[in-house]
């Protein structure tokens, strides 16, 4: 047996070009269905688990799917926002926990989203702090684990938010944030987000700001008028781009918070009954919609399954073609090696031993192919899975 393996290894190594071609063909035939199935299963699992952990989402009327993806992954910005007052309205219904989300500007070249939330969001998603703490005030931020790694930021570092669109000139956009916490990896889209307090997100968007105390302004170029009640200053009054313990008191909003925008509300109902009541109530409000992410994602998964079926057919075709190629190769090999086999037989080798030699040669090639296919699949699954999730979003 050992000698046959030795001979088979020698054959495979000597005709290495042929062996490499065979290995690549078999690898492809194994890799495509294995990696494809693993990737799609992982994508499906990820989509489902995220959707199932998000019971209900309320947002402006429009695409239900966009609203779902926005609430789950923060990537898609819904075309319409809703007012923060909806948060209070829904909270007053008393059907469960209400979590506002406001996706605003981004940081970095890869445009990592900055998402405004309340502290309850961390508790709702069971997100743990790996380093530092959760944000305690406006101007602080907490980074998802992947963001921290990618941007090489740690607790104590700072960054400046960037406008979403070049033409977005009405908002302040560039606000300096201090990193106060890094989240532990969760394996979800929360790892890829910069979390700030929802008020911070409004400040980035220009709904609030801080500037030097107008009461103390004496410069005539800055002061337009002053009476007993108020002082009116022009744009040249210094605006703060960084929120510090010293200047935090000067930050304010020029409108009621209830009128400020949020992009979605996640609702965690107390029970099924509350969910049903809430759905009815929200459906009565003409500018709102309520979606169940698991239902929306199920529709998407159905589409993925259709793609998977096509993929399986293509994989089966490749498998059959590879099989035929192997049969052809075997037939040609037997023909080309007939003299070698006859010689072996003449010097005392049994027919089954000759067959065994062929089997070992193929086993070695197949073993190498399987190992290579598994290695490639492992590498590919993580990469392609992320790519598909990005594409879906």
């Amino acid at each position: 047996m050992d000698s046959l393996i030795y001979l088979a290894v020698k054959y495979v190594c000597h005709y290495w070009v042929k062996s490499v071609i065979l290995v690549l063909c078999i690898t492809l035939a194994i890799f495509l269905p294995v990696a494809g199935t693993a990737v799609l299963d992982q994508v499906q699992l990820q989509l489902k688990s995220r959707a199932e952990s998000t019971p209900k989402v309320i947002g402006a009327k429009g695409s239900r799917f966009d609203l779902t993806l926005h609430a789950l992954y923060f990537d898609v910005v819904p075309p319409e926002t809703i007012r923060y007052e909806v948060d209070k309205t829904v909270r007053d219904f008393g059907y469960g926990r209400v979590l506002p989300i406001y996706r605003t500007y981004h940081i970095g070249e890869d445009k990592t989203p900055i998402v405004g939330i309340t502290l309850s969001y961390f508790d709702f998603r069971n997100l743990q702090i790996a380093d530092g703490d959760f944000f305690g005030r406006i101007g602080h931020c907490v980074l998802g684990s992947k963001v921290a790694k990618r941007l090489q930021k740690s607790v104590g570092d700072d960054f400046v938010s960037q406008p979403q669109r070049a033409e977005d000139i009405t908002s302040s956009g560039n606000v300096k944030f201090q990193v106060v916490g890094i989240l532990s990896p969760s394996g979800t889209s929360d790892d890829d987000v910069v979390f700030v307090d929802i008020k911070s997100s409004w400040i980035i968007d220009g709904f609030g700001h801080g500037h030097e105390d107008v009461e103390t302004v004496q410069d005539r170029d800055k002061l337009l008028s002053r009476d007993d009640k108020r002082a009116i200053v022009n744009e040249s009054v210094a605006k703060f781009i960084e929120i510090t313990d010293e200047n935090i008191g000067s930050f304010h909003f020029h409108s009621s918070l209830s009128k400020l925008p949020i992009s979605a509300l996640i609702l965690d109902p107390v029970d099924e009954k509350s969910a049903t009541f809430l759905t009815d109530k929200i459906n009565e409000i003409d500018y709102l919609q309520i979606v169940e992410p698991s239902v929306e994602i199920e529709k998407l998964i159905e589409k993925i399954f259709r793609v998977k079926t096509l993929f399986n057919i293509a994989s089966a075709a490749i498998f059959i073609v590879t099989g035929l190629f192997l049969v052809l190769n075997t037939l040609l090999s037997i023909r080309l090696r007939s003299r070698e086999m006859i010689t072996m037989y003449k010097i005392g080798c049994g027919r089954f031993t000759i067959l065994g030699l062929f089997v070992w040669e193929y086993l070695i090639v197949i073993l190498l192919s399987v190992l290579l296919a598994l290695l490639l699949s492992t590498i590919t699954v993580e990469y392609v899975q992320q790519m598909i999730l990005q594409m879906i979003r």
């Binding site: 046959l4 020698k10 070698e340 010689t343 005392g348």
Partner: protein, 201 residues
């Protein structure tokens, strides 16, 4: 082919001659147990080959017979060393002696290819290939060495050398040697010349 009686003594060196198609190779196949006679029997050291089954015949060939072919029939993907060892690599029936590697070197040295043991057949001359084939046929110390036109693919100088080597090695290993040849210039080196056409077809 019809042979009434053909006896070979141990250690004899015989040249078989005859025209093409007269059955020289068939005779070697019969002696090696590769083919079976349609009638009659072949007795080798009191063993009747006709009574052996296929596995026993293979064991008989693997242990008692050494074969040298006109086209050398070396395995391309193996080194000279492994080609010489081939009978042990493919035959489970014969036990590999403990110092087999020494024997490989010794045989290679005796035919002048000891410096080529790590080469593949593709990098050998025709004469060197046949020397490797001779070593392979002798590695298991066969009682009977059968060579089918061993000089058919060699030039004149190599023909003489290879026949000399075959005779020398057969004597050294105390093997009986039967060589099929067309070449009249080589036959006077043998103890006996058998013209197969005289057996009658």
């Amino acid at each position: 082919m019809h042979i009434d009686r053909f006896e070979i003594s141990s250690g004899e060196k015989i040249a078989i001659v005859g025209p093409s198609g007269s059955g020289k190779t068939t005779l070697l196949d019969l002696l090696a147990g590769i083919r079976s006679p349609t009638a009659g029997e072949i007795i080798f050291n009191d063993v009747n080959l006709h009574e052996l089954n296929d596995a026993q015949k293979r064991k008989f060939r693997a242990s008692k017979i050494g074969l040298v072919f006109q086209e050398f029939e070396l395995v391309e993907y193996l080194t000279v060393n492994d080609n010489i060892l081939l009978p042990y690599l493919i035959n489970k029936q014969i036990k590999r002696p403990p110092k087999i590697n020494n024997r490989v070197v010794e045989l290679a040295r005796s035919v002048g290819i000891e410096d080529k043991l790590s080469r593949k057949p593709l990098r050998l001359s025709q004469g060197e290939k046949q020397r490797v084939a001779i070593c392979r046929s002798l590695i298991h110390q066969p009682d009977l060495l059968l060579a089918d036109e061993p000089t058919g693919n060699l030039d004149a100088a190599n023909k003489q050398k290879i026949v000399s080597l075959l005779i020398e090695q057969a004597e050294r290993e105390q093997s009986t040697l039967i060589v099929v040849t067309h070449d009249q210039s080589l036959i006077d080196r043998f103890d006996r010349i058998v013209d197969i056409s005289e057996f009658g077809n």
